[in-house]
Symmetry: C3
């Protein structure tokens, strides 16, 4: 039977958190040698992405680009009940990933040297987020 | 062996349809208690996305944003044989998802309260679309 | 146990390569009749996408759109150590896919008629890229 764990993260607001180690720990616990790790956020205003794990400017530039593609407080949005970042957060979620999958080989995540798994909060205020990790072998 | 079903949907044209219940039914039929559901559209001008299931304005605003990111009838497009929405539909497909994966726990989809699974038609005219659901446990 | 293979591709620079046949070959070797194929790039400046396999103008127009969404050499980027295409390549990777999943039925990829699996190089210079294919049944 697949191994499954639910992880919880408290985030201070918009930005990325590297969750690679937390996912790797679930993979190690699973005992799976060859397969895939599936990572899923149970929310529609945060997301997941795999990107460069070295220079933090990459994630800063990604914020710059997302602010252009889905600007906060755009006057054309109708969904703004929770503030200027409400609809922008849903759009950023749709443009990035609610679920990620990473191959497992020799019992570990087969990530490239520069790849990190990031939880990306799109709301500006603090949030508690849950991430389901399922390991299939 | 994984359980697999092919679902067919008739769509009136551009817009989203909530297919969460149809996917949940395949998961129930599979008998899988822990695993993932894989949902896949066999087309390049419609797509899938997970987004807010409550306020329909979210999906209306997503259309507004997509119209900006991949405008219909852009004069720079070369691929326009089937009309102004032809290339825009392919681009919307690439920017969103051809496949989704959702974790299964206790025999049901582990979606968050506000998450729905949507089939997103990007062509403006009526279409018949097929969706392959595969359940792995 | 899942079947896994690592494929290597030498790419001349920015653009798409159809890797559907290479993935199909791994699926055939796996012997899996029903399941999913998981395809993963171990890099953060190239990506994968499923799009139209017939008219090459579709992929040309996708380059036009990506150049707008994540322009090369944007003065607001801070991450530009490797040149004007450095940050743009990371952004294109985030907006498209690091991993793809395709259903398998009757021992073959259940792609639609017009769907191809493409490896998409976003750097302008030549690169060697590795792609991990994992087949789950």
């Amino acid at each position: 039977m697949p191994h499954q764990a639910i992880l919880a993260f408290s985030l201070p607001g918009r930005g990325t958190r590297n969750i690679t180690d937390a996912v790797a720990q679930v993979v190690a616990q699973s005992g799976v040698r060859t397969g895939i790790a599936h990572i899923f956020v149970q929310h529609t205003s945060c997301s997941l992405t795999i990107t460069e794990n070295a220079d933090p400017d990459v994630r800063r530039d990604l914020e710059t680009i997302m602010q252009r593609l889905a600007p906060d407080g755009d006057p054309q949005y109708r969904h703004d009940l929770e503030g200027d970042d409400d609809m922008a957060a849903h759009a950023r979620s749709v443009l990035t990933d609610t679920a990620l999958t990473v191959p497992i080989g020799d019992g570990r995540l087969l990530l490239g040297t520069w790849q990190g798994i990031f939880l990306w909060e799109h709301r500006t205020g603090p949030q508690r987020r849950s991430v389901v990790v399922t390991v299939l072998g």
